[in-house]
Point group: none
Chain length 360, copies 2
């Protein structure tokens, strides 16, 4: 249940206006949404069986089966011994109908409001709450991956950060098509994450998915400043740093400051400092307060905040109601061209903004 503000493909025939259709076949929208939900869920979970899907979606087996049989007959999904999966036409239909559904469910308008409130040109809002339902984060990643893929051009250097959301993005990136001229690099060196969600790992996975190349930047965590400077002076490291700082596209997750501090096992002193300076957001190793002012930075090599000015496209990806404050802060901290988030975060950001605006 995808995106909201992507340009809508030109319709081949006359459009059946939703509000009109609602009037004469009200059950249409319910059926449409139900079937879209199934297709969408299958896309995320394929290959998956009837029962597992029914359990996942909270439907009974029989009724889901009826829909699935219909969708299979329509050629929108295929069923093999391993389970069901989308057909090419299923993908196409999902892409075509996603914007319609987004508008129908008000997410298009939500995205537009958020775009205005945060000053971010392109905002996409996916359905649900990443904190509540696991599949929402998958959708978030898929949506961000699709947007990224559309934006990539030959010669691009894509800098990515770590984090579970970015890991999801890499995992959900469609495999079709290749961009051999695209290079994926980690935005910054070691930040104390576990291996599977490190920027290096994600850069590698993403490069593999899009058929491009990647570079790693091995800078151990918790180095002293002088050691770091020595390391950065190494010709090999220095060359890679130059490449990173010349990135044309930056895709990054946004974290809640204290949550990130905990995950990275920062020292008590550091946490205390973050608290004192009221840090609420974290993005590529920088911590920001509510006004978007940087209040702390991890000591590692890689992309500096100032480097963002030279970047063609800065894309932020984050969802879940717990990320609302962090997203708003990050939006104030630096230029963000694209934001991919979810309904829960979007609504919470807007409520908070209208609240503070009214309260002052």
């Amino acid at each position: 249940m995808g995106e909201a503000s992507r340009p809508i493909p030109a319709p081949a025939g006359p459009g059946l206006e939703i509000s009109t259709a609602q009037r004469i076949v009200p059950e249409l929208l319910d059926t449409l949404r139900a079937r879209m939900r199934i297709l969408h869920r299958i896309r995320l979970l394929q290959p998956i069986g009837r029962r597992a899907l029914a359990a996942e979606m909270g439907a009974t087996e029989r009724v889901l089966r009826a829909e699935v049989e219909f969708l299979r007959q329509q050629g929108l999904l295929t069923a093999g011994p391993a389970g069901m999966g989308l057909s090419e036409e299923g993908y196409a239909l999902l892409d075509q109908l996603d914007p319609v559904l987004a508008t129908l469910e008000g997410r298009t308008e939500l995205a537009a409001s958020l775009s205005r409130a945060l000053g971010i040109a392109r905002v996409t809002v996916v359905v649900g709450d990443s904190d509540e339902e696991p599949w929402v984060k998958d959708t978030l990643g898929l949506q961000a991956a699709s947007l990224l893929r559309e934006e990539l051009t030959s010669g691009d250097v894509v800098a990515v950060t770590g984090g579970t959301t970015m890991a999801t993005l890499a995992r959900m990136m469609p495999r079709r098509g290749t961009h051999p001229d695209v290079r994926v690099v980690p935005a910054r060196g070691g930040l104390g994450e576990s291996a599977s969600v490190q920027a290096n790992t994600i850069a590698e996975q993403l490069a593999q998915a899009i058929g491009g190349s990647h570079t790693v930047l091995h800078v151990p965590d918790r180095l002293g400043e002088d050691t770091l400077e020595h390391l950065m002076a190494e010709p090999m490291v220095e060359a890679r740093l130059r490449e990173i700082r010349s990135a044309t596209v930056v895709v990054h997750g946004i974290g809640s400051a204290l949550e990130m501090a905990r995950r990275r096992q920062l020292s008590e002193a550091e946490v205390a400092l973050l608290r004192e300076r009221r840090a609420v957001a974290e993005a590529f190793g920088y911590y920001f307060d509510q006004q978007g002012q940087p209040v702390y930075a991890m000591t590692t090599a890689g992309l500096k905040l100032a480097d963002l000015d030279g970047v063609r496209l800065v894309m932020g990806v984050a969802g879940g109601h717990s990320k609302a404050e962090a997203i708003a802060s990050a939006a104030r901290a630096y230029r963000m061209d694209v934001l991919v988030t979810d309904e829960a975060a979007a609504k919470r950001i807007l409520h908070a903004q209208s609240g503070t605006r009214a309260g002052r």
Copy 2:
């Protein structure tokens, strides 16, 4: 089951593309068509009861009743002791959904093909066959009436011919709104029709329906040429003729030549002449052969063929498979800006054209 090539009103929301909808909710498009059919039929027959309508539509009472109950609940139609009728919203919905349905059923494309084949800028194709089902002619008339109404502007002089189709047009013309500055005149004098379908009668009815004024032109049938010239020299008659020949809009039926000759009880000699000259079409007293050449003209006063050049809008209205050849002939004979016909005629014209083209 209306029109095909009318400009589509700007959609307020996102359009659900028909072909896409067809793919994921095909059964709902069927119910949509069924309900539209009912609304349309009620519009033509209102006020009408459940049973009469069911018989008329070839459906059983119960199933029609279920739909009608739904439509009533949706506020699209009202049910009184006298029978059911459309509500305002019903009219609005019908108008909105008509182009959608036209495309859905391929009539939009049919109209476009016909437009190309006949060189007529605007072609509208309504559903069905006027020769087979009586209500199709009503739809034809209604559609033509709606188009005419849209085109009328202040000061227009509308010349109309006789015939059952034109009589239907006058009868179906919506009563709402008035055009006090519009004058309706008969295109030509007596042509031997029975009173109810004479141009004079139709002009009067049409003027009444649109709230305009009308003029009659009483020229008896079968006059000798010299008597006719004397009559036309009468100041009163001459003034009216001048008005007629300065018409800004001409709306006319198109007839099959021999059928019209029979209805007008032409002499055997005249019929023989028509046969010899291979007349196939008749329009406002002129008879044309297959190539659109005028081969005979009724001796009466009124609009001449040449006068059509000065007319702003020439609209032809004719349907039924038996009229196919006549319509094609008329289209070649003179400039026609708008044609309103039905599926049966449209298909037959196109088949004949592709046939002759291939055969030569």
